[in-house]
């Protein structure tokens, strides 16, 4: 395929390539090149297929893993939680019956669905990808178009390898300048969401472009795209470049040899060119981004670590009730500094920040320190492969010596469907993606989102700290 992108951006190009037809409703029937499933949102979908006597159309284009309900301590079967055990049995039975490969706990490739797809080279530029999980936007880091979907759509993709969708608009989110030291990809995306709002991306796909993203590693790009959904954008992506190509080279599901060269040409040719058109553009100054921490109950409610929690009066009238609700739930006061806020739990993990570079940075901060008294700290690697690599590098030793617990791979305390939960009003410094009320397993528990390095800093300080002061 020729490299003549002209005015078309990557999103629209990939969308057109995957359009099967226009449905009677006017929506597009879109071909989905890769489908990923997990134990929570798939059982009802398989039942929908059974009810209609349908088969899985391309079983080799669906890959299953288990992550949401996996205990991170004892993984012996049957699980202590009978409901979790029932879900495990269901995905095992469904995958067997419908001919789908399952990365079960006994498989060394098991892990969080948005960690294993990229790690295995399944996630590639220019494909369409769907998964019954909102953080599917993660895969957009490769310049693929990835959508989080509901269970009915999981059934649609299983049975037809397509789904019905209206074409979103595309907004180019440019971030330029040089990030200050100690500012991570997590800070960038939290800052973008703070700037554009949790509803700002509704109706849009986000193209993240500019020097800041160009300089990022693939893991950092995944952190950014992962949280597109927290900004309301169902899909976020970064144009494929040489960084993308080098990441994919040699991965088990990536093309090999001459096929890889052919693929590289196609991948790089999909990128939005300089003349690409967008429905909207915004520009953000990367050099002004600080280590960022959330103080409220949605991911846009954040401040730089050296800022104070805002006053309700500083928001438009229509938003003030929501701000007061957040302050009351968190039991924080207006104008109170976020730095120094005492924490009870520190969680490093989730599909946002559980990859090697996240663990390395957190370990760099933790090394030679001790977790503060009264703080419970856990590190949950995103996949079994990451756990193994981290152990090879001795990161587990650094963490456990400092007083962190070193766990098995899974989603864990990001959404607390497994035994890892907050208790009562605990405050958790968390590298995950959502600070919603009750998100981490206690209906009244509180979450402060931040980068893994900032979580490590909070764990050893016992309170929210500026990681840059520890790295001096």
């Amino acid at each position: 395929m020729a490299q003549s992108n002209g005015t078309q951006n990557l999103f629209n190009r990939v969308w057109d390539e995957h359009t099967v037809r226009t449905l009677p409703s006017g929506q597009t029937q879109l071909f989905i090149g890769q489908h990923l499933i997990h134990e929570v949102t798939s059982p009802q979908a398989f039942q929908m297929l059974r009810d209609r006597g349908l088969k899985v159309r391309y079983p080799e284009r669906t890959l299953a893993t288990v992550d949401h309900i996996i205990p991170t301590l004892s993984q012996a079967r049957p699980f202590a939680d009978g409901l979790a055990e029932e879900m495990m049995s269901a995905i095992e039975k469904n995958c067997r019956e419908f001919g789908i490969t399952l990365l079960n706990l006994s498989d060394k490739r098991q892990g969080i669905v948005h960690v294993v797809g990229p790690e295995l080279g399944i996630t590639q530029p220019g494909i369409t990808l769907a998964c019954g999980d909102s953080h599917t936007s993660t895969h957009g880091a490769f310049g693929c178009i990835a959508f989080g979907i509901g269970t009915s759509q999981v059934a649609d993709v299983l049975a037809s390898q397509t789904m019905a969708m209206g074409r979103p608009k595309v907004r180019r989110v440019g971030v330029n300048g040089r990030l200050p030291a100690g500012v991570y990809a997590k800070d960038v995306i939290l800052h973008v969401i703070r700037t554009l709002g949790v509803q700002g991306g509704v109706g849009y796909a986000y193209e993240f472009a500019g020097e800041v993203f160009e300089r990022m590693s693939m893991e950092e790009r995944m952190t950014v795209c992962n949280m597109s959904i927290e900004g309301g954008a169902r899909c976020g992506y970064i144009n494929p470049d040489q960084t993308t190509v080098e990441y994919l080279r040699g991965r088990p599901f990536a093309p090999q040899g001459a096929a890889f060269d052919k693929a590289t040409k196609w991948w790089l040719g999909l990128a939005s060119g300089p003349g690409a058109q967008f429905d909207d553009r915004v520009e953000i100054d990367g050099s002004a981004i600080e280590p960022t921490v959330t103080w409220g109950i949605n991911p846009a409610q954040s401040v730089g670590v050296n800022e104070s929690i805002p006053t309700a009066a500083s928001f438009p009238t229509g938003e003030q009730a929501g701000i007061r609700e957040a302050l009351a739930f968190m039991d924080f006061k207006e104008s109170q500094p976020i730095k120094g806020t005492k924490i009870d739990v520190a969680f490093i993990g989730s599909c946002t920040n559980s990859r090697m570079s996240d663990l390395r940075e957190a370990a760099r901060v933790a090394k030679g320190h001790k977790v503060a008294k009264n703080v419970r700290a856990l590190v949950v690697p995103g996949s079994q492969q990451i756990r193994e690599q981290a152990e090879k590098e001795g990161l587990n030793e650094i963490f456990t010596t400092a007083g962190f617990e070193w766990r098995g791979a899974g989603c864990s305390m990001c959404l607390a469907m497994n035994p890892d939960k907050l208790v009562g009003r605990e405050i958790c410094a968390s590298s995950s993606n959502r600070n919603f009320k009750g998100r981490q397993g206690s209906p009244t528990g509180r979450t402060l989102l931040m980068s893994p390095a900032m979580v490590a800093a909070a764990a050893i300080t016992g309170a929210v700290a500026d990681v840059r002061e520890l790295l001096k």
Binding site: H18, Q47, L83, E86, S134, Q153, A159, M417, F436, K437
Partner: protein
């Protein structure tokens, strides 16, 4: 499939912004292999924390039309959220705006999910609060929501609206029908043959 042109029923107001799907149905209730019983747990944690939550108010028992604020249903893609609302009795949702995955999940379950102007969402919420027995009508053909003497224009993404009013919201059947065209697309995509 059944055509859905209009929903008439009692309203229930919850005119707050950014209500996420974790609040609609907490994650611990996702430990299930069917959607049965989810209606019993809708907004469970909010209801425990807020005395007089609309979903516990006897005045709104039997309500069918939920009135919400901006960005309702944000966060997790869990279809358990509209399932829980539906099983509680909700048949249509009127609000300022909706998160997209939630919106799609509603349409897949035949729940009209329509947008009105911010001031109209507040006015409708106030009208329902003032007179809970007064029926609310969501009319997808006229593109309007009415309650008593008041009528508000509403909008819904056109493809989704069409799918409801023409009874084509069961996408699975339609998608499977296009098997030959699907194969053509699969055949022309270089990655489907792993760039061989």
């Amino acid at each position: 499939m059944q055509t859905i042109e209009q929903v008439v029923g009692q309203g229930i107001p919850l005119v707050l912004d950014d209500i996420d799907t974790d609040r609609i149905i907490p994650a611990r209730y996702l430990r299930c292999v069917t959607f049965e019983g989810l209606g019993d747990h809708v907004f469970e944690d909010d209801r425990k924390q807020l005395a007089g939550h609309p979903f516990d108010n006897p005045a709104y028992r039997g309500a069918n039309v939920l009135v919400v604020g901006r960005n309702f249903g944000c966060g997790s893609s869990r279809e358990h959220a509209p399932q829980a609302l539906m099983r509680w009795g909700i048949k249509a949702i009127v609000g300022e705006s909706f998160a997209e995955i939630f919106f799609g999940n509603c349409v897949a379950n035949g729940i009209p999910t329509v947008c009105v102007a911010p001031a109209d969402a507040k006015a409708l919420g106030a009208a329902v609060t003032a007179n809970p027995a007064q029926p609310v009508t969501v009319d997808l053909l006229k593109r309007q929501v009415s309650c008593g003497a008041m009528t508000y224009p509403c909008s819904m993404q056109e493809g989704a609206r069409q799918s409801l009013v023409t009874g084509n919201w069961d996408f699975l059947g339609q998608l499977v029908e296009a098997e030959p065209q699907t194969r053509q697309v699969a055949d022309r995509l270089p990655y489907m043959k792993n760039f061989a």
